[in-house]
């Protein structure tokens, strides 16, 4: 703010001096002009009176001739004073107004206001370095989960969209280039509560620049970056970018997971979705021969993963020499001839994975007419064609921004969740199915909240005190209802991390140790109730021993 004040003062130097000089001349002149008072005596205006008269004259307020009617000499001087002072006055006003509309100054002021609102944040927050399609989904999900977000975006229209959305918390936003280190500093890279930077622009170079800048400025800060090209991803990994997200690779992997372990897939989607939503039952892709239209980054990832699941693929590609694809059928796939050539009649599924939405829809519509039993996967690029994709209702619609947002959420909600999901992927499908049905029976159909608890004197003072007194607290105790210990909260402990060793689905009779980290999944109500158990000695004693401890001094004295 200091700099802005000085900028204003410096620009106003000339108008202010012009005003002072014109006022000075007019005031002196007015005091020198001979006048006559009401009794006919000669009279001169005092400096103060003259200042008063000139002040209301220059500002065009014009109270009239005060205190006595003026003499000719005074009127003559005042006439001249009007022209002398009114014009500089408007000149200065004009200057001030121009200055307030000056784009550089306004930019400086918005930046300053943004930096200030970031400085004032008192909770952990994430910096989003774009507000595109995936970032807007992510911002909404984080906001719903009560995690604070700061947004930098270079396009004003997208920020206008952000301003119009309804959020729980204020989301400070700035229209600026995230590549500039200054912008990142304003957004709070050095803020002690900043818990990470997420850069999801669709330009790999920008993401790379942001990741480098953040890692140089604050090496401990986790960085999640989107990278679609492999060389850029390798470059990011080389300087320690924590999570590199490639939507195409992710989708390919998810497709493979769907094929062999639908339960694991549901678990992943469910735990990383926005709380309160219900998931549609996912469909399992059939085994057999698939047709893949488009062999770009998306197509390559899909083909690789399908082949790993022992399925055969037929590739249809319009420009085989550009994409480096051997033995494929040349054509775009939008016309029936190419599709028949690719064997659409005896294929089990088709994947329309070009980067053109209309072509993708055309491919799947043609294929569907030729073979209505096909399992259809279609890639959606822009969000503007939402209505069309909804109308077509493919078995799976691949939306890059949703995939990115889910993946980011898994890392951002809690590092434990990401670890849990990674471990869950290695478990069998039956294990995942059992877990999902257990979760549904405890927390219901709606997407649950997921949170982590650390057992130490700072985050769970009551539990830590119990452990120090060698009074055992089991995991089961943390799921009991503090209002009635016979009842249980709708919450499931998913993972226990002790000495960096993870236990999936720990037994409820496990005794807690200090330093344990536990990942819970449950209804929002359980998330808000559990801190009472963790921190209130009275509630925990009731849960563990079934005894109500007297709180006040008198009751304690009476009891003893």
């Amino acid at each position: 703010m200091n700099n802005i004040l000085f900028l204003i003062l410096r620009r106003l130097r000339r108008p202010l001096i012009v005003i002072i000089l014109s006022f000075a001349i007019a005031i002196v002149g007015l005091t020198l002009m001979p006048g006559v008072d009401d009794k006919g005596n000669p009279w001169h205006m005092s400096v103060f009176q003259a200042f008063y008269v000139i002040s209301y004259t220059a500002t065009t307020i014009g109270f009239g001739e005060i205190p006595y009617p003026y003499s000719h000499a005074q009127r003559l001087w005042l006439t001249m004073s009007i022209y002398l002072t009114v014009i500089p006055w408007f000149y200065a006003l004009g200057k001030i107004i121009t200055l307030l509309q000056d784009t550089a100054l306004r930019q400086a002021m918005t930046t300053e206001r943004f930096a200030k609102s970031v400085r004032l944040i008192q909770e952990p927050f994430y910096i989003l370095c774009s507000y595109g399609e995936s970032a807007s989904v992510l911002a909404k999900a984080l906001d719903d989960k009560g995690i604070r977000v700061v947004v930098i975006e270079s396009m004003q229209e997208r920020l206008t969209e952000l301003e119009l959305t309804d959020t729980n918390n204020v989301i400070p936003s700035l229209c600026a280039d995230a590549k500039l280190p200054d912008t990142l500093v304003h957004a709070g890279v050095h803020h002690p509560l900043c818990s990470g930077v997420v850069t999801l622009t669709d330009n790999d170079q920008v993401n790379l620049a942001v990741a480098v800048a953040v890692k140089l400025m604050n090496p401990d800060l986790p960085v999640l970056a989107r990278a679609e090209r492999e060389d850029i991803a390798a470059n990011m990994a080389s300087f320690g970018t924590d999570h590199i997200i490639n939507p195409y690779v992710l989708f390919g992997e998810q497709l493979a997971v769907r094929v062999h372990a639908i339960g694991t897939y549901i678990l992943h989607e469910w735990l990383t979705d926005v709380p309160g939503d219900t998931l549609p039952p996912p469909e399992c892709p059939p085994m057999g021969r698939w047709i893949v239209c488009g062999y770009g980054r998306f197509g390559k990832s899909v083909v690789k993963n399908l082949e790993r699941e022992h399925m055969t693929t037929t590739i249809v590609e319009a420009m085989p020499e550009l994409t480096g694809c051997e033995n494929c059928i040349v054509g775009s796939g939008t016309e029936a001839k190419t599709l028949i050539e690719a064997g659409v009649h005896d294929a089990v599924g088709i994947i329309a994975g070009t980067d053109n939405d209309i072509n993708n829809l055309s491919i799947v519509m043609t294929a569907y007419e030729l073979n209505p039993k096909l399992f259809v996967i279609v890639r959606k690029n822009g969000r503007h064609n939402n209505a069309l994709f909804k109308k077509f209702d493919a078995n799976i619609t691949m939306q890059p921004h949703d995939i990115i947002a889910h993946e980011c959420l898994a890392h951002m909600i809690s590092p434990l969740l990401a670890q849990f999901l990674a471990l869950a992927r290695n478990q069998s499908n039956a294990w995942a199915n059992a877990l999902v049905s257990h979760l549904v029976s405890v927390v219901g159909e709606a997407v649950p909240e997921t949170w982590a608890v650390t057992i130490n004197s700072k985050n769970a003072s009551a539990v830590a005190a119990f452990i120090q007194q060698n009074r055992g607290v089991t995991l089961l105790n943390l799921t009991q209802d503090p209002a009635n210990r016979q009842k249980y909260l709708p919450v499931v402990p998913l993972m226990l991390l002790r000495n960096n060793e993870p236990w999936l689905l720990p037994a409820e009779s496990t005794f807690l140790n200090e330093g344990d980290q536990i990942l819970f999944c449950g209804k929002p109500m359980a998330k808000s109730t559990q801190p009472r158990l963790l921190n209130s000695h009275k509630d925990l004693t009731y849960i563990v021993d079934g005894v109500e401890v007297p709180d006040s001094l008198i009751w304690r004295w009476l009891k003893s």
Binding site: F6, L7, R10, R13, L16, I17, I20, V47
Partner: protein, 124 residues
């Protein structure tokens, strides 16, 4: 030689000399202190203040603050004169006004010293 520097130095020195001129004389004798001299001192002091706006150096900041101190006391003296003039003993009123302008003189004096020291330190 730089015209801007000449004007800058001129106004700062003029602010001090006018202030001194008003201050000079017996402190309780109204005949020794003319109202126009105080008026001129205020106007020149205000111009000097505006000229110092926007200089972000350390010396610039101190120069601006001395000017603001001088303005404050001179304007306080002028307000006192405008309000109390005629309603109180002229000699004792003059004592207040002149002593206020004496304070402003000190501030202007510091301002000039700063100007001189900065000029000397440039060694050109």
């Amino acid at each position: 030689m730089n015209l801007e520097k000449v004007i800058f130095g001129f106004f700062i020195v003029l602010a001090m000399t006018l202030n001194y001129g008003f201050f000079l004389g017996e402190i309780d004798n109204p005949d020794h202190h003319h109202v126009y001299e105080l008026y001129a001192a205020i106007v020149v002091s205000l111009i000097a203040t505006v000229l110092k706006f926007g200089d972000r150096t350390q010396v610039g900041a101190v120069l601006l603050s001395t000017s603001l101190a001088a303005d404050l006391q001179l304007i306080a003296a002028a307000i006192l004169w405008a309000i109390m003039g005629g309603s109180m003993d002229e000699a004792s009123l003059m004592v207040y006004i002149v002593s206020l302008s004496g304070g402003a003189l000190m501030a202007n004096f510091v301002s000039v010293i700063l100007l001189i020291s900065e000029t000397i330190s440039q060694r050109r």
